[in-house]
């Protein structure tokens, strides 16, 4: 231990001992990032009516409350459905756009690329009330199609970013070779390019699902009634009171995120 403390920590002559404060600060910040969500997990297994940490008695009562509530089940199904459909719409649309813009090399392509990324920074509340206003006239408020389209619009920038990054490290000349051997452009794309950027496609599909699954503000305005989503109901429940059922749901959502993120990381490893 002492040896380690006095060993050099970087290319300059700093020892680990002199750097202890840096390790401490970084550990604290990491703890700050990770702890809150992780503390909710054990709390959700509490048997008491209030949230405790650590719980004095363990039970699954809040999971049962969630499982046995038709209302919570209904919104959960909707969320998975909307997320799945968003994934199916946003991934092909975003991939097509990213590929077309990358391959065309026209000057407008850059501008369109930037335009497609704008949903990341435009305040969602503004878009949400605008879409609400438009959907009222189109009679599309609370419709499945409306929510899926809105969530896809939010997810497309991610798909474009990820696929574009993959194309940058891909050698387009391979398509040229395929075409000089007689393949049509679409065929060259589907048989040569697509298989090589499939990891990016899978990653962006998972993140598109997650974007929709976690989205609150759009849903707040345009996803009510029968097509209410899980996060929308959670949000209104949060504003009223601290219902421990939400701790159970939060835990389940953390599990979903962890599994999806794990898949993304596995995909990333497969690439190498």
């Amino acid at each position: 231990m002492l040896d380690w403390l006095n060993a050099s920590a970087s290319d300059t002559q700093v020892t680990h001992r002199q750097r202890l404060w840096l390790y401490l600060v970084a550990a604290l910040v990491l703890f700050f990032l990770l702890a809150p969500t992780l503390i909710v997990v054990p709390m959700s297994f509490s048997a008491s009516q209030y949230l405790e940490f650590p719980p004095r008695e363990w039970s699954l009562r809040w999971y049962r409350a969630y499982w046995e509530s038709t209302e919570w089940m209904q919104v959960t199904r909707t969320s998975f459905l909307v997320g799945g459909l968003t994934m199916l719409l946003a991934t092909p649309l975003g991939t097509l756009a990213a590929y077309g813009l990358f391959a065309s090399r026209l000057r407008v392509a850059r501008a369109i690329h930037t335009l497609l990324l704008t949903p990341i920074i435009v305040p969602v509340v503004l878009v949400a009330i605008g879409v609400f206003y438009a959907f009222v006239r189109l009679k599309m408020v609370n419709s499945l199609a409306g929510i899926v389209m809105s969530h896809s619009m939010l997810a497309i920038p991610l798909v474009v970013l990820i696929v574009n990054a993959a194309l940058k490290s891909y050698d387009m000349n391979q398509e040229l070779v395929a075409r000089s051997l007689g393949a049509s452009r679409p065929r060259a794309f589907f048989t040569i390019t697509l298989p090589q950027i499939r990891f990016a496609l899978m990653t962006s599909a998972l993140l598109a699902f997650l974007t929709s699954f976690d989205e609150v503000i759009m849903a707040q305005f345009i996803a009510g009634g029968d097509n209410s989503t899980l996060t929308r109901k959670m949000f209104s429940a949060l504003r009223d009171q601290i219902d421990p059922t939400i701790a159970a749901i939060s835990t389940l959502m953390i599990v979903v995120t962890t599994v999806l993120l794990g898949l993304v990381l596995l995909i990333g490893r497969g690439k190498k």
Partner: protein
């Protein structure tokens, strides 16, 4: 070269060029469906709101909605709160994020990847779930107050939530990865030989950091700060839940105007001002650095 070429070759070259141009436009057309969706779901509705913001209760053109924002102190307070919260959040992220990114950039790959997972996991966890977690931890009978009281650090339960403090804690938690990830990218591309060179020329580690490393990491740092500030301006969920009605940012006011008062004019005008502010900041940022690098931090 063209002088020695036969005219047939010239025609051939022209046809090829025409073909290529046609193909480039066709390829560009592949972005059509995505653009259409963007137009229908974002651009047209927002343009509509822009129109609404100039229409008064009597259905005629008016500046009232914008005038009110300037004249009424309540609106000025909302903008002040928005800027205050965004600025403090950005500064706190900077203070907490820089040391973390600095350390991760120098860790061996395995340890660095572990740290990255610890950052990415909360990053991708639902904002709502994280906000709820803070609500549970920070409330009067929450974990932090329990610990603080039992340790004797404070005598009365502290008001940590349903106010500015709670909002800031929640927002820093959400925004921190937006600083660390791009900053880490910038730091990793710094040539560490430069720092070695500085120290071999006699600079102390602190001086080598201050005069070589810090300036080189500045572009990544600024990019991260700008994106955090811009995203903070549009925050809605965290102040709504952790602010307890005491922290009203522009987005919250917009939602209130619609949900409680059905006042489309006022809400639209606020939204337009918020959007213009955001775009102006982004334009400034784009003069300083490449935009997709700013936006691509999470990739």
């Amino acid at each position: 070269m063209s002088e020695t070429r036969a005219p047939v070759d010239d025609l051939h070259a022209q046809a090829l060029r025409r073909d290529e141009r046609k193909e480039r436009w066709l390829l560009l057309g592949l972005s059509g469906p995505a653009l259409l969706l963007l137009a229908v779901i974002m651009i047209l509705p927002v343009a509509w709101l822009l129109g609404l913001s100039f229409i008064g209760d009597d259905g005629h053109f008016t500046w009232t909605h914008y005038e009110r924002m300037w004249v009424q102190p309540s609106f000025r307070r909302i903008f002040f709160t928005t800027f205050q919260v965004s600025l403090i959040t950005t500064l706190l992220c900077l203070l907490a994020g820089y040391p973390l990114a600095y350390l991760i950039a120098q860790l061996p790959t395995r340890a660095a990847n572990l740290c990255l997972i610890a950052i990415l996991l909360p990053f991708w966890t639902s904002v709502l779930v994280r906000t709820y977690a803070w609500l549970v931890l920070l409330q009067r009978k929450g974990l932090i107050n329990q610990w603080g009281l039992s340790m004797g650090w404070w005598d009365e339960p502290l008001a940590l939530v349903h106010n500015l403090t709670g909002t800031l804690i929640g927002m820093v938690h959400i925004m921190l990865p937006f600083l660390v990830l791009p900053l880490l990218g910038a730091m990793r591309s710094i040539d560490m030989n430069l720092i070695k060179a500085a120290s071999s020329l006699g600079a102390s580690p602190a001086r080598a950091f201050r005069t070589v490393f810090l300036p080189l990491s500045l572009p990544g740092l600024i990019a991260g700060c700008v994106i955090i500030f811009i995203l903070c301006l549009g925050f809605y969920i965290t102040p709504a839940v952790l602010g307890g009605g005491k922290v009203i940012m522009v987005s919250n006011q917009i939602a209130n105007d619609i949900e409680m008062f059905f006042n489309w004019g006022a809400a639209s005008a606020l939204g337009v001002v918020l959007l213009v502010l955001t775009l102006m900041l982004l334009w400034l940022a784009s003069r300083l650095m490449r935009l997709d690098r700013v936006l691509g931090g999470e990739g």
